[in-house]
Amino acid sequence: MEQMEIEKDLQTRELTLNMGPQHPATHGVLRLVLQLDGETVVKCTPYVGYLHRGTEKLAENRTYISALPLMDRLDYISSMSNDVGYCVAVEKLFGIEAPERAKYIRTIMSEMTRISSHIIWLATHALDIGAMTVFLYSFREREWLIDLFEMTCGARLTVSYPRIGGVRCDVSREFLDSLYKFTEEFPKRIEEYETLIDQNRIWLQRTKGIGVISARDAVHCGLTGPTLRGSGVSYDVRKHEPYDAYPFVDFEVPVGENGDVYDRYRCRMEELRQSNRIIRQCIEKMPDGPILADDAPDLDMPPEGRKRLIPDMSLSHACISLSDECEHITPAGEFYSPTEVPKGELGFYIVSDGSGMPYRMRFRSPSFVHAAALPRLCKGHMVADVIALIGTIDIVLGECDR
């Protein structure tokens, strides 16, 4: 009561604080405008768009196969998953089925990306909260995976490896051997990270009971991926709408209980173990065979089909002329195709007019939706918790702003 009276006398007022876009803990160029009452956040407004490159528009002017390198740059730390998601979507449009071996390779690559994305998430999230050692250890394992990417496709980060109807090139024996060695080693490394932070009292105080979101709210906000599963909703595109080789492998979808930062952290740590399991199974089951479907489009596919021939029957023009209409390369229409990327559900909504270029392409990117959930998560927490909350929703601004 006394406190209230003192505040009344002092006539305190709210403070507006700009966090970002150059703040090191905002994971890119996210700008948050915080209304503060003392140290408590009253209102949080995220502003996005500082990294807008117009990927959707750029894709409209490129053939389906030339637009693939753009997808690397959506979520640049899990580029392989984006490419796989795009290829799965375009394959549905073309009506192509990737060969068995290509499906297994793509599943391996997606899961490798999931591991590398989750460990970079763990690294930066822990660094934000104050645990430096985890950051250094995580990059050690990430380097191994990125070397493996380089061995296969010649690039470390922006891979452009999957191809519509399969993959770009076959994986080598050394690749599979090295990866198998990694899967044997990696569970020990996960235990190391957990030794450092799982029971650490500072970590627990910073994460337990922070940013609680109920299952109902999480679904209403449109959260997906581990951010949703931390609230106890078992939704995973890999299980519910399986693509590639996911129907053939055995894995679990880890879920949390309370929906706080700690549960989401536990969820992602369990996902690392499950991804490891999937990779092992895929290597063991990997069949031989082709890696590119026979009817897959070539790299230099035409932007539009051949002009239709129309016989001119009038007497004055006894010849064949070309019509303005083109033959359809792809079926016209529109559809949506979801895939599970490390951050959540990445969906491609493609409108096709029959030509070799998409008429309109829209991405449902998890980071954008997750950033929209920040005001609800931040409300009533301290400024220091905002950092933990930006980390826990796992956003990459390249994907958010597109």
């Binding site: 380097e143 009292r201 890696i291």
Partner: protein, 190 residues
């Protein structure tokens, strides 16, 4: 709260465990490299600086000005000009803007005569933008730089004939392409 939990709380057990791990790591072999002094060789097929393959027979580039690379390029950074005489295309100008390039390797993959290559050179930072506009001569010079550093006698880029892809999908020039012989200048030792 059990006795065990209280003991954990008082004696900082979880923090001591973490510290034990970091101390163990301290005596392990370091995983980092001292970069400018110690360099790691990139894997074969690394997508680095662009180059025109110098044809060992003619000593010039092999480009036939088919324009496939400029059509397929997602960042539209390749500009080709040619003139046509007696049904044959003669290359007049060829430019790659390396600063716009996204290094997807599509150009090297689509080239029907294996003229273009993304070499394994990755250290080519410079102070001015003009040096990143690779024209014909510059691309050939890039090849000379790259091939002089090679240790093998022949060179065959991974993207010219990708492993596992049906050879029927490729044009004849790619099917018949043989590894490029590399001439090494013999060092005179006194």
């Amino acid at each position: 709260m059990t006795l065990r939990d209280i003991a954990k709380k008082i004696f900082f057990l979880e923090i001591l465990k973490g510290l034990a791990l970091t101390f163990r790591t301290m005596i392990n072999h370091p995983v980092t490299r001292r970069y400018p002094k110690v360099k790691r060789d990139p894997f074969p097929g690394f997508r680095g600086r662009h180059a025109f393959v110098r044809d060992p027979e003619t000593g010039r580039e092999k480009c036939v000005a088919c324009l496939k690379c400029s059509i397929v390029c997602p960042s539209r950074c390749i500009r080709v000009e040619y003139k046509e005489t007696e049904g044959e295309r003669i290359l007049e100008r060829y430019e790659i803007e390396a600063l716009r390039c996204v290094f997807c390797g599509y150009c090297a993959e689509v080239c029907p005569v294996c003229a273009l290559v993304l070499t394994e050179v990755y250290e080519y930072a410079d102070y001015s933008r003009e040096h990143f506009l690779f024209d014909r001569e510059m691309l050939l010079k890039n090849w000379d730089d790259f091939s002089s550093g090679l240790k093998t006698d022949t060179y065959f880029n991974k993207f010219w004939r990708l492993e596992g892809i049906d050879i029927k999908r490729m044009p004849v020039g790619k099917r018949l392409q043989e590894p490029i012989p590399i001439k090494h200048e013999e060092k005179v030792t006194l």
